[in-house]
């Protein structure tokens, strides 16, 4: 289903090279200040660099302060690098989009009614409300609504799908996107967007991260991290006074090293990369989120509203069985059904032919039988074929009975009526089958539920999300399909107002609702829903009302959207836990090293057996910098979501990132220390 149109640019050489350059460029204090943790790191790095310079000038041993300063700068650069890599992947996508946004000219119609009077203007001069004519081979100059005409359009520029789609005035297929190409015919389009704010423009901006606003959860997490930074600032600064009591004079370089290893640089450095990568993942699913807020909200969804047709079922009713009345063999009835449907090009008709061949083993007639086909009409509600001796019809039950009765008054067999009732009760549509005055049987037409959908709903249930099916069917049919598909609830005979009411009702009970829609009549419900995915194929109204656009127009994708939203939050939470849990080991590395001269007994805390105080401190700083780089792939990929329930998920993540975060640095710092002391770096 999901075509990876925007193949995430793999971490190739040029991308990495550019990210390295960007990492240096991002040392600009105006950019750094947006990230409090990294900003603090940069400030103290500058401080240690000054001390290093002083050591050099005064001829004191400078190897230690020099290396600390270098690794502190690396910490900042690695954080910048993570962000740059994430941005780089988006930028590669943006460039492919930008290629399609050429400056084109447009045929503006001063009078929409008169297509002959055209004036050629630049696409950039078009304003909302202008009408333009677009003919085959031309690029549609801006987003708009077709007011006249029908055309096939290549939307590959936006969706990556090269098969043309039909766009026509009126109905739910009237929206066109600037930058797409008309392949045949002509259309008159009323422009709805200003230059620079078209769908494509917004898409490019979103992909590039230029419009990236911090999301609510990200802001809150930033506050938490800033708070933790202040806590450690207090703890480290006061240590000068507290240490002085026992006669320890702690060097500023060492204090800075302690501070930087304690403040949550790991999550601080990776935070924006995680956010950018989340949007990027969504885009690779061909879903365009209008804001990061919408992606986060997707992770919170409690209830999912899905249209039955096209989402849960295939959208067409298909024949699933042929029931013969007593006295007629199943094979005879199936043959009659096959013949009656030969000329029927509707999906239902074709499914009857398929069923007769596959289930009842009938060979398709080698030659079209001689006879006249009877087309379906709204008045007769029958279709079929007249052969030499037979008049085969299929159609609505009452019409079929009437057809048989019109020839000869026969009592309707009880078995026939029983079959009809059974089908109706099961939520299917019965189709009568008659040969002249002889009732042959009933064809069971069924709304066939997509094969993998039940599993997907079960998955959603495990994620704690309730699924609700919206359908125009009557309650009996709706209930039957609902139970077959395994949805939790359904709204039958739903009007747009019903949808809106249902959403409001759920929201009043404190639930967050996601839905997808494409029609104009979906727009109010889309606007009301917390997460609204509009189909790219839908109307302009629907697309404006949604906060995400699915470029593939595949409603089941909401599940992936929810997962990506959850992944985004989980990655942040897990790395925060990891980052803070790391601090325990760093204390055990640095505290004994700090006081080894004045309070040698604290050497008992040196459980890692680090070589010297200098190597202990340097190792902690190096580990702290390297862990950022080591975690970049995880930040970009995201922590895997598993629908196993919140408590089990938390237990798992606490085990991996909490306990792992406690243990990892003990091992890591020891290894770095072995290297540092082995190489005699200090």
């Amino acid at each position: 289903m999901v075509r990876n149109t925007y193949k995430s640019a793999s971490l190739d050489k040029s991308l990495l090279l550019r990210a390295v350059v960007d990492a240096v460029r991002k040392l600009d204090p105006r950019l750094l200040i947006k990230n409090p943790v990294i900003f603090v790191t940069a400030v103290v790095s500058a401080l240690v660099t000054t001390l290093f310079a002083r050591d050099l000038l005064t001829g004191q041993p400078a190897a230690f302060s020099g290396q600390i300063a270098a690794w502190l700068w690396f910490t900042v650069l690695f954080a910048n690098f993570a962000e740059a890599v994430a941005e780089g992947r988006g930028r590669a996508q943006a460039e492919s989009l930008r290629k399609t946004r050429t400056e084109s000219s447009a045929r503006r119609l001063p009078d929409p009614k008169n297509r002959d009077r055209q004036e050629t203007v630049s696409a950039l001069d078009l304003r909302p409300g202008d009408t333009v004519l677009v003919v085959a081979g031309e690029i549609i100059p801006g987003d708009g609504e077709i007011i006249e005409g029908v055309a096939s359009v290549n939307e590959a520029a936006v969706t990556g799908e090269s098969a043309p789609v039909i766009r026509e005035a009126g109905g739910d297929r009237s929206a066109v996107t600037g930058g797409t190409t008309v392949l045949s015919d002509w259309i008159v389009v009323r422009i709805t967007s200003s230059p620079g704010s078209s769908f494509l423009d917004r898409m490019i901006a979103l992909v590039e991260g230029a419009e990236r606003q911090k999301t609510p959860n990200e802001i809150a997490l930033n506050i938490l991290l800033a708070g933790m930074t202040i806590v450690f600032l207090i703890a480290v600064v006061t240590l000068t006074g507290l240490g002085a009591y026992s006669g320890t004079n702690i060097a500023v370089t060492v204090l800075v090293a302690l501070l930087v290893t304690l403040i949550p640089t790991t999550i601080g450095g990776l935070l924006s990369a995680i956010g950018i990568a989340g949007m990027d993942r969504l885009l690779r699913f061909n879903v365009l989120a209008m804001s990061g807020r919408a992606v986060e909200a997707a992770g919170d969804v409690d209830t999912l509203l899905l249209d039955k047709t096209g989402t849960i079922t295939f959208g067409n009713r298909l024949a699933t069985e042929i029931i013969a009345v007593p006295g007629v063999s199943e094979r005879e009835a199936a043959e009659a059904a096959l013949l009656a449907s030969l000329a029927d090009g509707t999906p239902e008709g074709r499914s009857i032919v398929m069923l007769a061949q596959e289930k009842y083993g009938l060979a398709p007639p080698t030659a079209v039988p001689q006879g006249s086909f009877i087309e379906f009409s709204a008045t007769t509600r029958l279709s079929g074929i007249d052969l030499e001796t037979r008049k085969l019809r299929k159609g609505a039950v009452d019409a079929v009975v009437k057809f048989a009765g019109a020839k000869q008054a026969v009592a309707e067999p009880t078995a026939f009526r029983a079959a009809v009732d059974r089908i109706a009760r099961a939520g299917g549509t019965p189709l009568g089958l008659v040969d002249g005055d002889r009732l042959l049987g009933v064809i069971h037409l069924k709304d066939v539920v997509k094969p993998d959908i039940k599993e997907r709903f079960a998955q959603l249930r495990r994620m704690g999300i309730k699924t609700v099916m919206i359908t125009g069917d009557n309650p009996v049919t709706a209930a039957a399909i609902a139970s077959e598909a395994g949805v939790d609830d359904f709204v039958a005979e739903a009007t747009p107002e019903d949808k809106l009411r249902y959403i409001r009702n759920e929201q009043a009970q404190g639930r967050l609702i996601a839905m997808c829609g494409d029609g104009t009549n979906d727009a109010p419900a889309l606007a009301q829903a917390d997460v609204a995915v509009a189909m790219q194929s839908g109307t302009q109204a629907a697309r404006e009302a949604g906060n995400m656009v699915d470029l593939d127009s595949n409603p089941t994708k909401l599940i992936e959207v929810v997962e990506i939203g959850k992944q985004l939050l989980m990655t942040r939470g897990s790395l925060t836990t990891f980052s803070i849990a790391n601090d325990v080991a760093k204390y055990f590395a640095i505290i004994p090293a700090l006081f080894v001269a004045s309070l040698p007994e604290l050497g008992a805390l040196n459980v890692m057996g680090l070589a010297t105080p200098e190597s202990a401190i340097l190792s902690a700083v190096i580990f702290n910098a390297l862990i950022i780089v080591a975690l970049i792939p995880l930040a970009l990929k995201g922590v895997a979501y598993r629908p196993i329930g919140a408590a089990a998920l938390l237990r798992r993540n606490l085990l991996v990132y909490g306990l792992g975060g406690l243990a990892a640095p003990f091992i890591g710092i020891k290894l770095v220390d072995l290297a540092v002391s082995g190489l005699h770096l200090v």
Binding site: G241, G299, R461, G573, Y587, F595, E601, A646, L649
Partner: protein, 567 residues
Amino acid sequence: MTLNGWLQIAIMLALVVLTARPLGIFMASVMQGKSTFLHRSVRPIETRLYSLAGVDETREQTWLQYVASLLAFNAAGFVLHYAILRLQGFLPLNPQGFGALSEHLAFNTAVSFVTNTNWQSYGGETTLSYFSQMVGLTVQNFVSAATGMAIIVPLARAFSRANATTVGNFWVDLTRVTLYVLLPLSIIMAFALIALGVPQNLSNYVDATTLEGAKQTIAQGPVASQLAIKQLGTNGGGFFNVNSAHPYENPSIWTNTIESWAIVALALALAVAFGRMIGREREGWALLGVMMIFLLAGCAIAYWAEAAGNPFMHAMGVDGGNMEGKEVRFGIPQSAVWATFTTGASNGSVNSMHGSYMPLGGLVPLVLIQIGEVVPGGVGSGLYGIVVFAIIAMFVAGLMVGRTPEYLGKKLEAKEVKMAMLAILIMPAFILGFSAVSAVLPVALAGLANPGPRGYTEILYAFSSAAGNNGSAFAGLTANAPWYDTTLGIAMLACRFGIIVPVMAIIGSLAAKPRLAPSGGTFPTDGALFVALLAGVIVIVSGLEFFPALALGPIVEHFQMLAGKTF
């Protein structure tokens, strides 16, 4: 360590858990204004008080109005208390003829009692008149406890209400907890203590000649009445200088049992009351569970460290546990329980001298204070404190399960995190800040009784105690000097109201939010995993804040002791 000792600890822990539910149910009813068995006798007094004070009990306040009322009430209490202490010499009930307290001591003492700290830079029986004790101290003992408890009412409303602009009426909440909970319980407990031999009189001090022929002055006074609220209200300010180690304050194992129980009884019961008020009692029990984990661990470590005894003493041939500074009539287990309860609960009363504990035994009370006085903490203050930690814990946990974090059906967003971090930051800022300055300031170092890490711990303990609104002292520090009186007073004020204001801001913000329905994707906060998570967050957050400071005090002292180093 003996089986007997462990049994004593187990019995005390069981006792405080057993009473939590009945007390909690009662308090929830009172706080929600429901009719209780006290209604008929107390309600007329309650309405009379409202009409005297011109309070309309049906008018609710926004969180800002609520906190403004609270601050105004406490400011007035401070002024009154300060005036009493300064004018003591002119006031009645002063048989010993004590004069005015110095400016800095009066400031320190007034702040100390208004903030429910009850740090005592003075010796009660040598400094304060009966009037000061009864009208100044005891009144503040009641209302400072009631102030903390009152906040639990809006705290519960923050979670039980949706889209609300008001959070309740401070005057009503304050009056109700005082009249229905604190006063009746204190009266019962005071009579019980009198029956068990605690004095309650307004007599002159008695002069006695001891068997050795020495002259001794035996202090008297209305001890029982002050003792009851001192324990129940997590105040801890003793009538006598040595607090509940004094035979008049704590004559026997029976009074000791009642007094130990009273230290944590209300604070634990409030957790149950909170759970009931939000309509999910289990949530309250989860918080109580976290509190009990710390109390259990504290008792166990303190008992282990003290019972193990001092290797230097063992070397001198004195076997057994460390009995220095402990009362023989209580022994090590009861001392360990009291030390754990009184510091876990921000009470600060003592029945043994924490300054004489072994390094790790003394570490227990210090750590319990530094983790923010939330296990169970002061009455009210402990519960809102632990909710602040729960907000931080659930913020991170919520992210880890892939949802916008929520706690008890309310979303946790930037504002809540900001206020919670402010509330958490303020204690380390004042403890570490003032301790660091005191550790190098000659005027501060002059007040130390011990050299080496022990002296350092005295400073750290004093500021921790003040900032945690605990009030217990690591005896040895001479605190009644301008430097300590003033800085400790500032720390008490800042850490009491510097936490209350952000907590009230959180309450206001949460109350205004819609209530979310729990779903399968919501992490349940009434189970064992939440209890473990919250306990872990409390340990990690405060551990990371204070580990370097602790390493230089009790921890290094422990290693030095093992290495055979003395000072």
